[in-house]
């Protein structure tokens, strides 16, 4: 395919969203229009990935050698493909979920535009382009957090905005350094730093890396910049599920991957103090996230804390600074997206059908909503890392990467310990909810859930698909792993 096609997945949703705000269609037609738009866009994106255009597409030049350009490489393909598959399903879910909300059109306008921007991050050819889309992502998604327009939501959106903009500022500093001290700003596997130009300034560069890690990591909720994520769970569930478990937060993780493997280069960082520090940051985030999730009783917030820890699983893989580590990060990026969106959708379905928000209100609800809770249980077991489900494979990869790294840097063994601690905490926070739902205490109030039932097909279909995917990938993921392995070795 010609590389001109690459522009479509980025621009189509943005234009479509803008068009929607002008058209003012009635709900039914709007939904149809949106679903078709999103599906077409996904189809084009996936077609691009299957017949990959090799050359870049330069849209315009900012100055001198700063291009605004798109290109599809292996890493970008994985992220783009993930987003392209999940978005239509999440949109379908959102139709039913948002039925009774107000201002739905403006919600869907921004929701769809976010799709294009996320694609932009996946397809960006260089740091400058990615940075621009990264900022844009903050701006289009901030409305989505604000959407309920309650005081809490507005405050949460403000927090989100401050954190993200602040983070981007850090990232911007690294952008400058890369421009000055790199051979190019185009992403190149293995890094672009010019060691001659750096000369004796290695320490400064490491410091810059650390800042950029934190800067891009804000979106991936690394410690201590994780505060915005649990707050942002006041947003409608389609947002928390798709954006705060996949698109936005994974953009952060994706950006860190780009930064580490495609700008600075893993070799440059391996074994330095910065390496130790970023590993520690990831570990602390994991411990923090999963411990807080156990403490939290609000269902959606509990899952948000779980997201914090799981995102850092990805980063932990990444910080192993090896192809195996990148493979681990990538596989968890994909698997976590599916299982977490599945669990969030379950929590959302509970909220939508029964208005129950807290875990201790779930006694016996599984018998009222069997489909939703089967999906939740399957996704939850996968999150814990029970073998036979997808999560086990990615956790295995992370542990394998850590064990490999541990030969040179014994500190990496600690990562495996952290991983297992977190798995235990995951078991606690998932299974307490699941056991409550399936095996209610005899003393619990059976009437509290009168009339609650499974939602309609628009919400059930995505849930069932995610559940099946989690099982299928858990039982046999070699074809996918093979692709990810070539990507992680930079030969895709």
């Amino acid at each position: 395919m010609s590389s001109v096609w690459l522009i479509i997945p980025v621009v189509l949703p943005i234009l479509g969203g803008a068009l929607l705000s002008l058209l003012r269609l009635p709900d039914k037609k709007r939904n149809l229009f949106l679903e078709i738009l999103v599906l077409v866009n996904s189809a084009i994106a996936i077609a691009c990935i299957c017949n990959r255009p090799t050359e870049e597409l330069i849209l315009f030049q900012l100055t001198g050698n700063l291009d605004f350009a798109l290109r599809l490489d292996g890493l970008g393909s994985v992220f783009a493909c993930l987003v392209a598959i999940l978005w239509p399903l999440a949109t379908l879910y959102a139709f039913e979920y948002m039925r009774h909300e107000e201002r739905t059109t403006s919600f869907f306008v921004f929701y769809t535009m976010t799709y294009g921007v996320t694609m932009g991050i996946a397809l960006a050819e260089n740091l400058v382009t990615m940075y621009l889309f990264y900022e844009l992502l903050t701006l289009v998604s901030v409305y989505l957090v604000m959407h309920p327009m309650t005081k809490k939501a507005i405050r949460a959106s403000r927090t989100y905005l401050y954190y993200s903009i602040g983070g981007a500022a850090f990232a911007f500093i690294s952008l400058i350094f890369i421009i000055v001290l790199g051979n190019t700003t185009d992403f190149t596997y293995g890094g672009v730093l010019n060691l001659v130009k750096i000369g004796g300034n290695t320490q400064i560069m490491l410091f810059v890396y650390l800042m950029a890690f934190w800067g891009f990591g804000v979106k991936a909720a690394v410690f201590p910049f994780q505060g915005w994520l649990p707050k942002a769970s006041v947003a409608p569930t389609p947002v928390t599920a798709l954006l705060h478990a996949v698109a936005v937060v994974k953009s952060g993780a994706f950006a860190v991957m780009r930064l580490t493997y495609y700008c600075f280069g893993a070799d440059f960082i391996r074994g330095t103090w910065a390496h130790f520090l970023v590993m520690s940051i990831a570990m602390i985030s994991i411990i923090y996230g999963s411990t807080m999730a156990v403490k939290e009783t609000h269902f959606k917030r509990r899952l948000a804390f779980s997201t914090i820890s799981n995102l850092s699983y990805i980063l932990l893989g990444v910080t192993m600074m090896s192809p195996l580590g990148l493979l681990a990060g990538l596989s968890h990026l994909v698997f976590h997206a599916i299982m977490k969106i599945g669990s969030f959708f379950s929590a959302g379905a509970v909220l939508h059908q029964s208005h129950k928000e807290y875990v201790d209100e779930l006694d016996g609800i599984a018998y009222r909503m069997p489909v939703v809770f089967t999906a939740f249980t399957v996704c939850g077991l996968s999150l814990i890392g029970i073998p036979g489900f997808a999560g086990f494979i990615s956790k295995w990869n992370i542990a394998a990467a850590a064990m490999e790294a541990g030969r040179d840097i014994p500190y990496a063994y600690a990562a495996v310990g952290v991983l297992l601690y977190s798995a235990l905490m995951t078991a606690v926070y998932i299974l307490t909810a699941a056991v409550r739902a399936w095996f209610p205490d005899q003393g619990s109030d059976a009437d509290a859930l009168k009339g609650v039932q499974d939602p309609n097909w628009e919400m059930k279909l995505p849930l069932i698909l995610f559940m099946v995917t989690v099982i299928v990938l858990g039982l046999g993921s070699e074809p996918l792993m093979e692709i990810l392995r070539t990507v992680a070795e930079g030969s895709f």
Binding site: I386, P387, A427, V428, V435, F439, P440, Q442
Partner: protein, 493 residues
């Protein structure tokens, strides 16, 4: 490949039948038909398993999760031993439950999960590498959870969660070891005698010993080994009696199986002999043996007493293994079989008493032997066996354990082992025999006029009877069986 299909059928049949039961909960009009259906499943599964046991040794990958992670199945003597015990106990426990579960609610759910666990256990016994072992170990924990919290009282649900979290924590500790071994070129299959001493294994010795200890500790959680025993006395008694029977008799033993696979089929006895791991492991098992008996001695609820007894008895097995010599292994394996038989029987007897009279405390059992003579005779006979009075089976296994302990020649431990075993045997007598004495000799204040026959029906009596006969026969004619175990022990060292 017919073996693969047969194996698939043996694993899937109970699992699918279990799911069928779960999805048709409460829709079975005729209870007899349901029980016949269940019985049929048990019988066919047993036939399949026996056929598998007769095929001869085999090993092949059943499935690939990824290129490096495969589900490998393996049939050897150890598999036969555990598989045979599992299906036998499961079938008898199932038959007992046909009657027992009449007085519990939601029996369809119970039987559904009971069958699913059976399938998982058959697969677990077949595990041919660490990942397969871990896979089915976790699934076993999850699918047996509903058996523990079956009656859904607050106490049961809490006990269930305790069981769950202890088990999962243990499994994760073991998983650390699995990660380590795999990433250093070991663990992808079991082999008699282990292979960590081979050159191809690249792990450092210090780290390897640490992870082996973690694996023993982690898998030992299921076997109720100190300090991870806390869940057992809480979880086993709250389950319905036939479930407590298989939980104590069989599921705790999967921890034993896993440890055998790690120590003798992955690490190798030579690798561990004389290291701190052996000393630490031995110490923990001896502590558990003693502590379990003590706790059982002072416990007044019968099923809880039996659960503490399990804590103590399973560690006899682990103690035997930790000796790392032939006598120790023979003692451990024979005690595995004997204890499974005995403890299944004891819990079934306790269940029969609860079913007929509702009595759970030991002190309430005064004179129960007059009302339920056959039940209490079974109880008494297997108690005597467990205490280890010759010529019963318990004596045989303890003899081997003591010999093995003396053979190690480890300063202090060689003597401490037999002494603690002896002490614990006395305590065992102290916590089991008074039950029988109370039951048959209620004293002169007992009102003999009021005695009414309350013997349960054949569905309950036959399983108990068969277990009792097995326990007694093993004790009187141990020869062939012990030779067989000796053969296993020789190959794994």
């Amino acid at each position: 490949m017919t073996v693969a299909y047969l194996l698939g059928a043996a694993i899937l049949l109970p699992i699918l039948a279990g799911f069928l039961l779960l999805f048709t909960q409460g829709k079975w009009k005729n209870r007899t038909v349901k029980c016949l259906f269940l019985f049929l499943v048990f019988v066919i599964t047993t036939i399949f398993s026996v056929k598998l046991m007769l095929v001869g040794d085999y090993q092949f990958p059943l499935w690939k999760l990824t290129d490096t992670l495969e589900v490998l199945v393996r049939m050897d003597h150890l598999t036969r031993l555990f598989l045979g015990m599992t299906v036998a106990a499961w079938t008898l426990g199932g038959v007992f439950a046909f009657e027992y579960m009449k007085h519990e609610q939601k029996e369809d759910r119970y039987f559904g999960f009971y069958l699913i666990v059976l399938g998982v256990l058959i697969a677990l016994d077949h595990a041919g590498n660490l990942v397969t072992l871990y896979l089915f170990f976790e699934l076993m924990t999850l699918t047996s959870l509903p058996l523990v919290l079956h009656n859904l009282s607050h106490e049961a649900v809490m006990a269930g969660l305790k069981y769950l979290f202890y088990s999962v924590a243990g499994a994760f500790a073991a998983l650390f070891g699995i990660f380590y071994l795999y990433s250093h070129g070991a663990g992808s299959m079991f082999a008699e005698g282990g292979y960590l001493a081979d050159i191809s294994y690249t792990g450092s010795q210090g780290m390897t010993l640490l992870v082996l200890f973690l694996m023993i500790l982690g898998f030992g959680t299921k076997a109720g080994m100190f300090p991870m025993h806390g869940w057992l006395p809480t979880a086993h008694p709250v389950a319905p009696a036939p479930a407590s029977a298989v939980l104590s008799g069989i599921i705790t033993k999967s921890g034993v199986l896993a440890i055998i696979r790690v120590v003798f089929y992955t690490a190798g006895a030579d690798y561990l002999r004389g290291t701190w791991v052996q000393y630490a492991w031995m110490t923990l098992t001896l502590i558990t043996v003693f502590m379990g008996s003590m706790m059982a001695y002072k416990e007044q609820v019968l099923k809880k007493r039996l659960a503490y007894s399990t804590v103590s008895q399973v560690s006899y097995i682990l103690f035997g293994l930790s000796l790392l010599n032939v006598s120790g292994i023979v003692g451990a394996l024979s005690h595995f079989v004997f204890h499974s038989v005995v403890k299944n029987c004891l819990f079934l007897c306790a269940g029969a008493v609860i079913y007929k009279t509702g009595k759970t405390m030991v002190k309430d059992l005064k004179g129960i032997g007059k009302e339920m003579p056959i039940t209490m005779w079974c109880f008494t006979l297997v108690s005597v066996t467990l205490v280890g009075i010759p010529p019963t089976s318990g004596f045989v296994s303890k003899w081997y354990l003591a010999t093995g302990s003396l053979e190690t020649g480890m300063t202090g431990y060689a003597w401490a082992g037999p002494i603690i075993l002896l002490l614990s045997a006395m305590l065992t007598a102290g916590y089991l025999l008074p039950v029988s004495i109370l039951a048959f000799f209620p004293g002169h204040q007992y009102d003999y006029e009021q005695v009414q026959k309350r013997e349960p029906n054949l569905l309950m009596l036959v399983p108990m009877g068969l277990f009792t006969i097995a326990a007694v026969v093993f004790g009187i004619f141990p020869g062939t069986f012990m030779n067989y175990l000796q053969k296993i022990a020789m190959t794994v060292l």
